[in-house]
Homo-oligomer: 144 residues x 2
């Protein structure tokens, strides 16, 4: 039995925090499938810079990832039902309520654990461990 893990996120400008999350998620099972949020569904923060297909292609190129796909336009649980994972791995800083997710999974009859990845310890003070920090640095250095 292959133990399938699902991770998810926006994954706009990639950084080592993303890689850490996905390595941690991959270590929770045998196969890692990543659901990449559609730009039009990112409402809790600024919409991503990079188009949907480009963010999927980049996630799929990362070593810990077996497969990446775009999220559903209307219902975040639809791909979870299709994938039927053994574990949903949340990022350490993702503002999801694991108990609410667990309740919805049970309501839909999906038998799946909800786990949370650890945070990455920065390698050095220089590291930019969020898309927002990278964008701020770009505007600071290159903005007209």
């Amino acid at each position: 039995m292959v133990k399938r893990v699902v991770a998810q996120g926006t994954f706009d400008i990639l950084h080592p925090g993303h890689v850490h999350y996905l390595r941690d998620a991959a270590a929770m099972g045998d196969e890692l499938v990543v659901i990449v949020a559609r730009g039009e569904n990112v409402t809790h923060k600024q919409p991503p810079i990079l188009p949907n297909s480009q963010r999927v292609a980049m996630i799929e190129a990362l070593e810990p990832v077996d497969r990446a796909l775009l999220g559903h336009p209307d219902d975040i649980f639809t791909p979870i039902e299709d994938l039927d994972p053994d574990v949903i791995a949340l990022g350490h800083d993702q503002h999801h309520d694991s108990e609410a997710i667990q309740a919805e999974l049970e309501r839909r009859g999906i038998d799946c654990a909800v786990e949370r990845a650890s945070a990455r310890e920065p390698d050095s003070e220089e590291e930019l461990l969020s898309t927002g920090l990278i964008i701020d640095r770009i505007i600071e250095r290159r903005g007209r």
Copy 2:
């Protein structure tokens, strides 16, 4: 005998053009080692936004890459001598003179082919296939 390929570049903000280059390079042999330029040595274009260690960590996380290391501060051929590759894979848009590289390799007694990777066909018109285009888009959308 493991056929070792070396690729190199700045690899600042990653995009599918980088992935294409590295997949193409990996397909030229059995093992792909990537030399990441030190920020202080990038003089032909604007210095990278991301620190050296972060660019190495991101390249190492890509599926086609076996190992990544920082370039030599003074002599770009020193790591090539150490690695003794069978192939040096140049990016399709890298402004290197393959004949000059070949001549220097011969002068140093390194028996190594110089090949050039293909360009990536964009998946869609939306794709941003260079770090510069991504930076321009960020400044356009988020610049103050």
